[in-house]
């Protein structure tokens, strides 16, 4: 099994082609194993009583942010499937869908970044020293986001930015309705871009698998609901968050 693949360039020199797609199966396997282990561990752990969804609705995600999340989710799924299915032998006309989804994702990310920086509280996503007490101290509750959620967000951020960055470069290397491809990159640079694009894709596949898994876990499902409906219950808030660190308003 190879980690990366090589080819010969136009003059017969060995040149990087990109990531080896053998790694796709490794990533899928590792993700499945991680999820399985987690399921087993959680089955044997004694879970605390589930907080009630009844009572006051506290706002967790504004509609606009939920919209962003789902637009991003859909575009990432479209990108992953259009990018990966041809690799595993499913033939369809994927490229245009892929770059359109890529542009939507890029626009969504730009929007989210601007909104998060100027209209939201970026500190809510900041990882501070307090956050690291959470896993070891049952009494320490997080603010709006747990350490795990912040970790997931930041890992996702890094990979999405990488995949977008490399994707935009590759976008310039194909013919589009607006321009014809350029020859700006030599073949070895192109190989590096493909490697980073492929590697970040593989990372995203693993991360998305975990993200979806956690979103479906019974004890976390209220977060998923909040990403749909916007609110969590007062009970859920109290059970999972420290009101001193996050005190949301009542949901409309």
């Amino acid at each position: 099994m190879d980690i990366v693949e090589f080819r010969e360039d136009v003059w017969g020199r060995e040149v990087l082609l990109g990531v080896s797609w053998d790694l796709l199966w490794v990533v899928l396997t590792l993700s499945a194993v991680a999820i399985m282990v987690h399921i087993v561990v959680m089955t044997f752990l004694k879970s605390p009583p589930r907080p009630s969804a009844a009572g006051l609705h506290m706002e967790r995600h504004a509609a606009v942010d939920r919209g962003f999340h789902w637009i991003m989710a859909v575009s990432v799924f479209v990108l992953l499937f259009t990018g990966v299915l041809p690799v595993v032998g499913v033939d369809f006309s994927w490229l245009t869908i892929h770059w359109v989804a890529g542009l939507i994702l890029t626009a969504a990310v730009v929007f989210h970044t601007l909104r998060a920086l100027f209209w939201q509280k970026p500190r809510e996503m900041w990882v501070g020293a307090d956050d690291f007490r959470e896993p070891f101290d049952a009494g320490t509750k997080p603010g709006k986001y747990s350490l795990a959620q912040k970790g997931m967000h930041h890992a996702m951020t890094a990979l999405v930015l990488l995949v977008i960055g490399t994707g935009l470069v590759l976008f310039a290397m194909i013919d589009t309705p607006w321009w014809n491809r350029s020859n700006a990159l030599d073949e070895s640079t192109l190989g590096w871009i493909f490697l980073l694009h492929g590697a970040s894709t593989l990372g995203l596949i693993g991360l998305v698998a975990l993200h979806v898994y956690f979103a479906l876990r019974p004890e976390k499902r209220f977060y998923t609901r909040s990403m749909i409906s916007g609110w969590i219950s007062e009970d859920e808030l109290r059970a999972n968050h420290d009101p001193a660190r996050w005190s949301p308003e009542r949901s409309a």
Partner: protein, 798 residues
């Protein structure tokens, strides 16, 4: 004048082998212990070899060794290299590997790790001439007989590519007459910029070579146009004395200028064989033949021509940027100027020439080098002038055509004789020109008729080479021909001048050729259309020497003085008493007995050392006639042709069909009608290819050639040419040749190229494409009015 052999058809001795397949070309030979070499060629258009690691390859079973640039004859840039550490084009051979068979050799090539450092490159001369343009070689980018660098200003480049009068400095220039006065006298001045393709020679037989060493002598079986002429050059390339070279080239599957003399590949197996102590066969693949087999010099240029009201060409100003490819070449531009100077006899003329190296396949002379490129461009300009002046295309050519008082080139030297007006008249009559021209522009559905006439020229004769004949006691006449068998049968046809002089039966003649072991005299190169003129002379003087000796012997044996004797029916006889005679066989036996000059124990001092060795080789076997051609020659020997063509051009597909073609040769007395017909028709096929089909495409980003196979290069096929092509000849003897003959091979192509270019232009109402080839896409673009895809004056792109 009535001849026994001259002007008669005969069966050249190599025909049977060619027809039956028994002919042995270089790669048909096999010797015990022979191993096979394969070449590693450069993947980069210009590079420096940093490292060749062949350890793994050499450790393979069945692999015998590697040959690199360090092992072979060194050359100085831009001379061709056998193997190189600075490849200058994609396909430049870097090293060779020898193995038990070719598959093992190729397997071994895959295992050699080669590290190359890319260097700047260019596949377009004008790109290289730009202010910061890349140079094809480390030593510079132009080669006006020495390597140096030349860069134009941005404005010079801009002017040139937009077709305005060039201002870029040109390192070579010649002129004659008063150019300014010539243009002042002109009623019409035409200015055109142009491009011609430098496309591959495409020899059907790739230049495969077998070499081995025996008793200190190097045996080389190769494929060359020339025979004796190759010997000194190949010996020098191999670093051996001429006497230690055995060179066999009995057949040549086409060279067209690319196999005139010793080319680099010819020497590689010799070196490899010496290194390995085994015979080495190097077969060249079709793709490799496109790399090392050379191509025509490409032109990018500008012409200004002045015409008087009557249609006389008063002045021509010609500016040519030559694409020399990656190695030393050139001369095409000057030859192009020379062709204009003789064909139209302009009062004044100037040629400026910028010979630029590019990282493309090496260039060399190709059938009518220079003359034929310019014929494709200038002849349609003659039609344009005729149109504007209200003249007939044949009439304007006739008005300017050379006769025996013609002058040519910068020095305005004389010609031996010329009868171009007669050729035009003959052709116009046979073709029915005056009726045919009325069909010009006629529409038939999407097709339109085009009529064209084109002229071709090449100098066609040299002098000063040696002839060698031998009569053996069995009465056989041995004609030793150092002429190579390039496919025109001239190696045999020219010996018929000796048979003619000796008044002997052709059936009693044996032509010796194709190997140094056949004891062959020093000969010219088989190129430049010169063999017919040059070697009929050399054979004639050798026969005269034999006749002189026969008369001396007859006088000695039968009494009297030599001038009492004459020859006839293969006998020497007393003019006063024909019964007193000796047969050629008896004379030959006596010559052996007498020795000395009669049997080749001594020889004339002025013969070449190659001929001297040949005489030594046959000394004592019969009566030897040997001499150097010291006959007078009063000027340039012109080979002239005219082509007449009718085509139908389909405006919807851009395809043309040649309805009729007629070639007329003006080459003195016809030596060998079938051979001449072959030259005229074969030349026409080439011409049609140049005008309408053959391509030479390079990717400018990576320096890769697109045309490395027949189907990509597109030489004409049997359905691209007319099924029948008529020919004729003026057949007036040239005074400077003992049998009146001149050569004609090269112009035969130029006139066909020109005729087709003119007909294409005629079909489109006089539109000049000013570039070859005019392929269907070019026509479709023009007809649809959407402009051409290629950039102005871009070359190697079509």
């Amino acid at each position: 004048m009535s001849y026994l052999h001259i002007g008669k058809n005969f069966t050249p001795p190599d025909i049977h082998g060619k027809v039956t397949g028994k002919a042995r070309y270089a790669e048909d030979y096999s010797v015990d212990g022979m191993v096979y070499a394969r070449l590693y060629t450069s993947p980069m258009p210009h590079a420096r070899v940093v490292e060749i690691d062949a350890d793994e390859a050499l450790a393979m079973e069945g692999v015998f060794g590697i040959l690199t640039a360090e092992d072979v004859y060194p050359t100085e840039a831009p001379a061709p290299t056998l193997l190189t550490n600075e490849p200058v084009y994609v396909g430049d051979p870097i090293f060779a590997i020898a193995a038990i068979d070719e598959k093992t050799a190729e397997d071994a090539l895959k295992k050699v790790r080669v590290k190359l450092e890319p260097l700047p490159f260019s596949v377009d001369p004008v790109t290289s001439l730009k202010p910061d343009g890349p140079s094809a070689r480390l030593e510079g980018n132009i080669y006006p007989r020495e390597m140096r660098s030349l860069h134009w200003s941005a404005e010079d480049v801009e002017r040139f590519v937009t077709g305005r009068e060039p201002t870029g400095p040109a390192p070579s220039e010649w002129s004659y007459g008063d150019l300014e006065a010539g243009f002042d006298n002109a009623a019409l001045i035409l200015e055109e910029s142009f491009v011609t393709t430098g496309y591959a020679h495409m020899s059907m037989e790739p230049r495969s070579v077998l070499s081995y060493w025996q008793n200190g002598r190097c045996h080389v079986h190769g494929s060359t146009q020339s025979q004796s002429f190759v010997v000194p050059f190949l010996a020098r390339m191999l670093g051996i004395e001429q006497k230690d070279l055995v060179f066999v080239a009995e057949y040549c599957g086409g060279g067209f200028g690319s196999k005139i003399s010793a080319y680099p590949v010819l020497a590689i197996p010799g070196y490899f064989s010496k290194k390995l102590g085994r015979p080495v066969m190097l077969r060249i693949t079709r793709e490799e033949e496109y790399y090392v087999g050379s191509a025509r010099v490409g032109f990018q240029g500008w012409i200004k021509a002045g015409f008087t009201r009557e249609g006389r060409v008063s002045a021509v100003d010609l500016y040519i940027v030559q694409d020399l490819g990656s190695q030393q070449a050139g001369g095409d531009a000057s030859s192009a100027g020379g062709a204009i100077s003789i064909l139209y006899q302009p009062d004044a003329m100037r040629l400026r020439d910028v010979p630029v190296l590019t990282n493309t396949t090496p260039r060399g002379p190709q059938r009518g080098p220079g003359q034929n490129q310019i014929a494709a461009i200038f002849e349609p300009m003659m039609d344009k002038a005729a149109r504007e002046l209200g003249l007939d295309p044949v009439a304007i050519r006739r008005l300017n055509a050379p006769d025996s008082s013609a002058t040519l080139n910068a020095n305005q030297g004389p010609v031996t004789s010329a009868y171009m007006k007669e050729a035009l008249d003959r052709g116009a009559e046979l073709f029915g020109w005056s009726e045919r021209i009325k069909k010009s522009g006629q529409r038939n559905g999407s097709k339109v008729t085009g009529i064209g006439v084109g002229q071709g020229y090449h100098s066609a004769g040299a002098n000063g080479f040696d002839g060698l004949v031998r009569i053996t006691p069995d009465g056989r006449i041995h004609l030793h021909s150092g002429v190579g068998n390039l496919g025109t049968y001239s190696y045999a046809a020219t010996t018929r001048a000796a048979a003619e002089a000796l008044k002997c039966n052709w059936e009693n003649c044996i032509v010796h050729h194709g190997s140094t072991e056949e004891n062959l005299p020093w000969s010219s190169y088989q190129a430049g259309s010169n063999t017919t003129f040059t070697h009929t002379r050399a054979n004639y003087v050798a026969a005269e020497d034999a006749i002189r000796k026969m008369k001396l012997i007859a006088a000695q044996v039968l009494g009297g003085t030599p001038d009492q004797y004459d020859i006839a029916d293969e006998r020497v006889f007393d003019i006063g008493n024909a019964a007193r005679s000796l047969t050629y066989g008896e004379v030959a036996a006596k010559a052996v007995e007498l020795g000395g000059e009669f049997s080749g124990e001594t020889w004339p001092e002025d013969i070449h050392e190659v001929t001297q060795r040949a005489v030594q080789g046959i000394a004592g076997t019969g009566l030897i006639g040997v001499a150097k051609d010291n006959l007078p020659v009063r000027g340039t020997v012109p080979g002239l042709t005219v082509g007449f063509i009718e085509i139908e051009l389909d405006l919807e597909t851009g395809k043309h069909e040649i309805v009729d073609f007629l070639a007329v040769a003006e080459c003195g007395t016809v030596l060998h009608p079938l051979g001449l017909a072959g030259q005229l028709r074969g030349g026409a096929v080439w011409g049609f290819g140049m005008a309408g089909l053959e391509r030479h495409v390079y990717d400018p980003q990576n320096g890769l050639p697109a045309n490395v196979g027949y189907y990509q290069t597109r030489p004409p096929t049997y359905l691209d040419i007319p099924a029948h092509m008529e020919w004729s000849a003026v057949d007036i003897a040239d005074p400077d040749n003992p049998v009146g003959s001149r050569g004609v091979g090269e112009p035969a192509m130029g006139s066909a190229t020109a005729a087709l270019m003119c007909a294409l232009s005629d079909a489109l109402g006089g539109h000049l494409f000013n570039r070859t080839p005019v392929t269907p896409d070019v026509v479709v673009n023009h007809v649809s009015g959407q402009g051409q895809s290629h950039g102005p004056l871009a070359t190697n792109t079509f």
